[in-house]
Symmetry: C2
Subunit: 316 residues, 2 copies
């Protein structure tokens, strides 16, 4: 069966100026994450390990809002969440309100083997660290100068960052046995109320995987995705309406927009290439094409291209 | 339009002996909650206020696991969660890991007007108490002798309580303008890992309301309901398959069972009486019939009857 992999680094509306300055950084980060996931799939590894590898790489990159480089909550602290789901069993693991685990997606994966699905807060974080030998870091390791400036500016205005600019990261994959998996990770919203649990931490909203239908990872207005039950909705549209993953994502994004929600999503079904859809002006995104090459794009209408190589190479 | 109201006090498998001893207590508590919700609906009030009134009454009753009478987590503390959803707007509010707010469902309702959907933990609880003038209580107010004994026994055996015995409470309602609402509240699982976020706190899993389809409240194996996206699934089955609320609930419960999940749910659509379904031997439940009378039942096959009046009166 043909493998597939797609990743995102958040939907939003990056300015032309910032895009010009940062394009190489973003594309290089997307390429690194795609390579990590591709390595797993091309070695015959499971979709679960491919999405974990890709999301770990995105968490390591300070330009995205997950793991290192997470935004700061109203207390000036990183506050991270992640979830993961395996399509063969519908097993899911999720974590929220983490402050020190280096790779939140690894905490979510550790939860797959626990007796609870979603854990939140410091006591849960301490318990996961003790039980699963997860690496931790001091707060200053997560915090970048750019996130500090952003936080100070929002704080001075008494505002929370726009949700659909959140730069949440995620991945979906299909392995050579047809197994699907999805993972999503976020630092939440800059200057958010401490204790906010985002859709990223919720199977059925930010993440979904079912081998019979589809794997989904979302990014955008998390609170709207949460009260829309977005990822479960996409899967139900594919299953019950027998429409394509692309049509299902577009319909769900259109419903989301009626609720005031902006964002995007990745999806991969049991056959065919992944789809990457958005109702925002941009989404940092990448995919592994069937020919084994990597492609990236940022602006909504932008053609797929090899990282750093301009816009001339649509995927095969 | 005809009003409708149904409530649950948890699915499970109560022993015949305990049922005999406790029937009057349970039925009286269910009747009190039904009366509270009926009062709102018969005064022409909105479904949202009816489910809040019913769930507040259930939270006040120590025999159910929500608010006062909540079970104790692994730290020996009450740890409560609730969610609420309004079908006209799909607005949802939810809270998890609360330790001192007297009525968690009122905290969930307060969240409807905030800019985030789901908040968790002590900082969020402090913020809600300060902002919304919610009543609080000391831990000992919530804790009953029976919950202490249960906790000590589980702790000695190193076990977490069986999820489908959780006695979570919930309500669904339709008001005389056709508006739907649902609310669910729980103390979680006895001896659970502190920080567990249950399906009860998650719109799309434990609670759902959409005026175009259905309102749903669930009880049972919360972690399985969460990774099944249960309440959103019921709504999608009604909308996309055009099947009855009863068939949708039964199909979703059957899917849940395949994932190892036991439990039950309430649902009410845009017309017709509420449905109350379970795949467990019992579910504490009650409904307001079209003739304005109140009916309750506990065992799965048990006929609807007036509270305290035996099994002789099926609802009109």
């Amino acid at each position: 069966m043909s493998t597939a992999l797609a990743i995102h680094g958040g939907a939003g509306s990056i300015s032309a100026q910032r895009l010009e300055t940062m394009r190489e950084t973003y594309e290089s980060a997307l390429a690194t994450a795609l390579e990590a996931g591709k390595g797993v799939l091309h070695d015959g590894g499971p979709a679960l390990e491919a999405v974990v590898a890709a999301v770990c790489a995105l968490e390591d990159t300070p330009c995205f809002n997950a793991g290192r480089g997470s935004v700061l909550n109203a207390d000036g602290e990183p506050e991270m969440a992640a979830s993961i789901m395996v399509g063969a069993t519908l097993d899911a693991g999720a974590v929220a309100n983490l402050h020190r685990i280096e790779h939140p997606v690894l905490a979510a994966r550790a939860m797959l083997e626990q007796r609870h699905t979603l854990l939140s807060g410091s006591k849960a974080e301490d318990w996961l660290v003790d039980n699963d030998a997860l690496s931790t870091q001091a707060p200053e390791w997560f915090i970048t100068d750019e996130r500090c400036s952003q936080w100070e500016s929002l704080r001075a205005r008494g505002e929370v960052a726009l949700a659909h600019e959140s730069q949440t990261v995620g991945a979906v994959a299909r392995d050579n046995r047809g197994g699907l998996a999805a993972a999503t990770s976020t630092g939440g919203l800059a200057n958010q109320q401490p204790g906010r649990v985002p859709d990223t931490a919720v199977p059925g909203s930010g993440t979904w995987a079912d081998d019979r239908t589809i794997a989904v990872s979302t990014t955008g207005d998390g609170d709207v995705f949460l009260r829309h039950g977005f990822a479960r909705r996409v899967a139900d549209l594919v299953e019950l309406e027998a429409i394509s993953p692309q049509r299902a994502c577009d319909q769900a994004l259109s419903e989301l927009k009626k609720l005031g929600g902006k964002g995007g999503c990745l999806a991969v079904g049991s056959a065919g290439p992944p789809v990457l859809r958005m109702n925002t002006p941009s989404m940092f995104r990448g995919l592994l094409a069937e020919d084994g090459r990597l492609y990236v794009a940022i602006g909504k209408g932008e053609a797929w291209h090899a990282p750093g190589a301009g816009w001339a190479h649509p995927p095969g």
